[in-house]
């Protein structure tokens, strides 16, 4: 596993994303982290935003029950569940994920959000935008874009420790 980005650069990207959200999403927005990878990103964004907005609603969604491959793979366990203790009605819902790749997870996330309420807008934030989309889905706010072979894996570590960063195998290029 090769380190691509260190914790300092990662923090810079989170700050930039939080600024974009503040500039573009008005004051009636909420953040929804897409489990599992989106949780650490949404928590980092929430930390950045907490003193800059009057009220910040943060929730988590588990898309396992909405996946299109649910009958084709062993179930995700344990199911961590969706945890949203506020209404999504007329809000700008900002979905937050770690890596946007095929777009299938976000399709499932949008379906779930629509089942939970009727938001005014849905926006998508991703820390890493990876090429390889299988559905017509794109992020509104992107931390960085990576061109990476389908066979290689991108991993984000963001625990507040020395190892924080973005990791992957060889043959990558940044655009």
């Amino acid at each position: 596993m090769k380190k691509y980005l260190d914790s300092e650069e990662l923090n810079k990207i989170i700050k930039q994303l939080s600024v974009k959200i503040l500039q573009n999403c008005g004051d009636n927005f909420c953040l929804l982290g897409v489990r599992k990878g989106g949780v650490k990103v949404v928590d980092a964004l929430a930390k950045e935003l907490q003193n800059k907005t009057d009220k910040l609603d943060v929730g988590y969604i588990d898309v396992s029950l909405y996946r299109d491959d649910i009958h084709k793979r062993l179930p995700d366990v344990p199911l961590e569940g969706t945890d949203i203790n506020f209404s999504l009605e007329n809000k700008t819902v900002i979905l937050v994920d770690e890596v946007l790749f095929t777009g299938r997870t976000i399709r499932a996330a949008i379906d779930q959000v629509m089942a939970l309420g009727r938001p005014r807008l849905i926006r998508l934030v991703t820390l890493v935008n990876r090429h390889g989309r299988e559905l017509p889905i794109q992020a509104d706010y992107v931390g960085l874009t990576i061109e990476e072979s389908h066979t290689n894996k991108i991993e984000v570590i963001y625990n507040g420790g020395e190892d924080d960063g973005i990791y992957f195998t060889n043959n990558s290029q940044i655009s």
Partner: protein, 309 residues
């Protein structure tokens, strides 16, 4: 860890990790029932058949709702008016139902071992909804889930199971599950309703509820099953209630946080007084709600295990 079991026949067959996996999954699914639209597409296109050869209200409704909340199609078999009364065998009936493209069969039967027989003959996933005096795994799961939810853990938790242990599939499933998850179990009741061999399962035996109630965190009062008793195993319901019924005096002797459970349906005044059933210690209705989440978890996991990987 991945879920790989194809059937849920009993809690005896599951290890600690598998039990925890069902409980954790149920915890994640509980939220679905709090939404305004209480439905998720997880089992869309799947068909669940309920084969209840014994009367049931809450278990049958709970399984129905669990399948519907996950968007499965549902067919139900009623023993009365079915081809069984025309002489068709159980396996033929089940095979015919499977031939309609059923993915999961939930079966309740008065004969122990029927779910195992179906599992051997059918390709679909089998869920045991109670087989004779053998096991009732989803009731065991929901009881265990409720204790964990209430007390935060099962490790070291002291549970008394009171009543008709001899005829109770609920007791057996509870004992298998609770012991694997680190709880300590004491079975309490009249000697006629406690087989001595039950001690081999790793439980303690008590014939004195007044003493046991002082030492436990949870009391699970089983229903007196008149329908499974060939003869009377105690002189009268009145005497049973006096010696083994949960009442105000026994509640006072117990820890003030005692968790009072009952799998239902309650014979008020026999297994417990109305006062106890409706007290703040009682979690009987939470058990029913949790049953739904546990059955959804079982469907969700078994659906996944049908996939060849």
């Amino acid at each position: 860890m991945k879920w790989t079991k194809k059937h849920l026949l009993g809690l005896k067959d599951l290890d600690r990790n598998e039990l925890n996996m069902i409980l954790d999954t149920a915890e994640g699914l509980k939220e679905v029932s709090t939404r305004s639209i209480k439905k998720v597409p997880a089992l869309q296109g799947r068909t669940v058949a309920l084969l209840f050869f014994e009367p049931s209200t809450r278990t049958s409704m709970s399984f129905q709702l669990a399948a519907q909340r996950l968007s499965a199609d549902l067919i139900q078999f009623n023993k009365s008016g079915s081809s069984l009364s025309k002489g068709e065998t159980l396996i033929d009936t089940a095979s015919n139902i499977e031939a309609m493209g059923v993915d999961m069969v939930v079966v309740r039967h008065s004969c122990p071992g029927v779910p195992q027989i179906l599992a051997k003959h059918l390709n679909c996933a089998i869920v045991n909804a109670g087989d004779g005096c053998h096991e009732h795994p989803t009731q065991g799961l929901l009881d265990i889930f409720t204790i964990r939810e209430k007390l935060g853990t099962l490790e070291g938790v002291k549970v008394a199971i009171v009543g008709d242990i001899r005829h109770s599939r609920v007791a057996r499933s509870n004992i298998f599950g609770l012991l694997k998850l680190g709880a300590k179990v004491t079975v309490v009741g009249p000697p006629t309703l406690i087989p001595k061999s039950i001690a081999k399962m790793g439980v303690e035996i008590s014939y004195n509820l007044d003493e046991t109630i002082k030492k436990v965190d949870v009391v699970n009062c089983l229903r007196i099953q008149m329908e499974r008793q060939g003869r009377s195993n105690f002189p009268s319901l009145r005497e049973y209630a006096l010696l083994f019924g949960m009442n105000r005096d026994r509640l006072k002797k117990a820890s003030k946080n005692l968790v009072v459970m009952h799998p239902g349906p309650i014979n008020r005044g026999v297994e417990m007084t109305a006062e106890v059933a409706d007290s703040k210690n009682s979690v009987i209705l939470q058990q029913v709600s949790n049953g739904l989440a546990c059955r959804m978890a079982v469907f969700y996991l078994l659906n996944g295990s049908r996939i060849d990987v």
